[in-house]
């Protein structure tokens, strides 16, 4: 058995080394390309999903969100809840948000949007919106009469460029009129415009907690939601469990639970596209290898007959061709792996610009291993079938060439 393998390997290595190098190199290159193709699309998709996830955490939900108990509109005693949550192990910081319906006016443009209040000091520790100021400044605790708005709220002078209804291209320093549902109407100076590229966030309007208290006319200790940033090295699930064990009565959801349905459908369609590419790539790999080995074995028919005649078992001969395709496959996969690493490095430096943000490649080790294993199985099949066809022929027929 071991001898058989040794002889197969011996023959395979020499046949590879001493037969047409161009052919072999081309085949290796094709496999490398197929492997790259199998991984590339899935990693772009992986990158997009990863981007959506990151954006969701950084700009939209943070790690964990606390919502009022079922059928209740507000979280009461918000300040004490925030301090309580901040003390829970695994929690980095919490930021409370309060929403009040309003309509915003600038010149002839009017849009209806809730205005959200937060404490800028808390918010900075929980989301990264403050890092994404396109122009102007983020809010501070003391800010009155000032508002920051998302890029889509600001919009463009040319309305055809807008995704949503907007204020028609307002700039930092412009004044807008906000009419709240409680009847208060007030002019605000735009302090800054943020652009996170997460469309949910970029269609929001924020004021400081203090300003909201002024609009309401009373000290505010209610909120609609608490965004909670967890500490690095913890999982949201763990921290959620801890929070529940600390007796938080409100609804606690990890960002995945909260966002859940939001992306499921697009992820699913991504995965269908991805699987089709995977299968097509595999079929190409099998066919290419099959043709190459077919030509090779037909070309070597006489040689295969000779080997059998002098006493080399057909199984050893078949094995030697399988080893050849395996070597080709493994070399191809290795080169493909290097190509992908290069692409990853490249796209990290120069991300692909999508409307939703900049996508880098995100390669899951699982998919990489899966593709490599599938390609190796393809190599084995593609080596085995043609080789066994020729090796099972009558010796004399084969020797005649």
């Amino acid at each position: 058995m071991l001898t058989d393998f040794k002889i197969s390997f011996f023959l395979a290595v020499r046949m590879l080394r001493r037969s047409s190098k161009t052919g072999t190199l081309l085949t290796i290159f094709i496999i490398a390309m197929v492997f790259t193709n199998m991984i590339f699309l899935s990693s772009v998709i992986g990158g997009s999903i990863e981007l959506m996830n990151e954006q969701t955490v950084d700009f939209y939900i943070s790690n964990i969100i606390i919502k009022p108990k079922e059928d209740i509109r507000f979280i009461d005693n918000t300040s004490s809840l925030v301090s309580k949550v901040n003390r829970i192990p695994g929690v980095s910081h919490a930021s409370a948000r309060y929403e009040l319906g309003a309509s915003l006016n600038h010149k002839s443009n009017e849009i209806a949007l809730p205005v959200i209040a937060f404490n800028p000091d808390d918010e900075k520790l929980v989301t990264k919106i403050h890092e994404m100021m396109k122009e102007g400044q983020f809010l501070t605790r003391e800010d009155r009469g000032q508002v920051i708005i998302g890029n889509y709220v600001a919009g463009n002078v040319d309305e055809s460029k807008d995704f949503f209804e907007s204020l028609g291209g307002v700039k930092t320093g412009d004044s807008i009129t906000v009419s709240f549902v409680n009847g208060v109407s007030k002019d605000y100076r735009i302090k800054g415009i943020f652009q996170t590229k997460s469309y949910q966030t970029d269609y929001k309007v924020f004021i400081s907690w203090n300003e909201m208290e002024e609009v309401l006319g009373y000290p505010l200790d209610q909120s609609n939601e608490l965004l909670v940033k967890t500490e690095a090295g913890t999982t949201e699930k763990e921290v959620k469990r801890t929070m529940l064990s600390y007796g938080i009565q409100e609804q606690v959801k990890t960002w995945k639970e909260q966002a859940g349905g939001l992306f499921d459908e697009s992820i699913e369609s991504f995965q269908i596209i991805n699987n089709i590419t995977l299968i097509v790539s595999l079929i190409i790999a099998i066919i290419v290898l099959f043709i190459i080995i077919m030509i090779k074995t037909l070309h070597n028919k006489r040689e295969i007959g000779v080997l059998k005649a002098i006493g080399i078992d057909e199984d050893i001969i078949i094995q030697s061709y399988v080893i050849q395709t395996l070597i080709i496959g493994i070399l191809g996969i290795t080169i493909g792996f290097c190509i992908i690493q290069t692409l990853i490095a490249y796209f990290l430096a120069y991300p692909i610009e999508f409307p939703d943000g900049n996508v880098s490649l995100y390669v899951e080790t699982g998919i990489m291993i899966e593709s490599a294993v599938l390609l190796i199985i393809a190599s084995i099949i593609a080596g085995y079938l043609p080789a066994s066809r020729i090796a099972k022929e009558e010796i004399l027929t084969a020797m005649r060439g």
């Binding site: 002889i7 040689e303 005649a309 006493g311």
Partner: protein, 224 residues
Amino acid sequence: MAVISVKDLYRVYKLGKVDVHALNGVTLDITEGEFVGIMGPSGSGKSTLLYQMSLLDRPTSGLVTIQGKNVGGLTDHQRTRFRLNHCGYVFQDYALVPELTTEENVYLLPMAQGKPDTESIDTAREILGKVGLSNRLSHLPRELSGGEQQRVAIARAMVNKPDIIFADEPCANLDSVNSKRILELFKELNQENGQTIVMISHEDEDIEYFDRVIRIFDGKNRER
């Protein structure tokens, strides 16, 4: 004692609807240590007979016995193993493996028997020395002359010290000087090691080397 015994051997090739009767009832014995020549006109069935005796083909009917064993009853794998361990082959067109060097072509066989690498290589080199190719060890077949290639083939046929060597017109592609050299090599090996050699030839001057000549006409032997 008969090392090869052939009885009522028939081989019919099917060529479309036509049956070609290549062997028509050959019966013969070959004694151990004999250097036998098979001669006869072209198309008479010499090669076909040799293939049946050397386990490269199966007869349509009849019996081939080697060293008392009915080799017709062996499976293909067993026959391959038998060829590796008991037979050596030399063909008219050398039939070397083009991707293997001189010495690789030769030491492949002991290695396939499971002998250690060093032993296999040493034996191969020793035999290649005997056939005068010590300075051609790492040449590929295409880098060798016809005579040299045939000497590699002979070395390969010898390397496992087979009981029988089968040669199908080994000198047909060689000039007279090289032919003589090859025949003398065979004779030497036969006398030194007592190996049985069965060789097809159609050169009358080869007869002097043979212990005995079997003549084939129309698929039948005229000997005896």
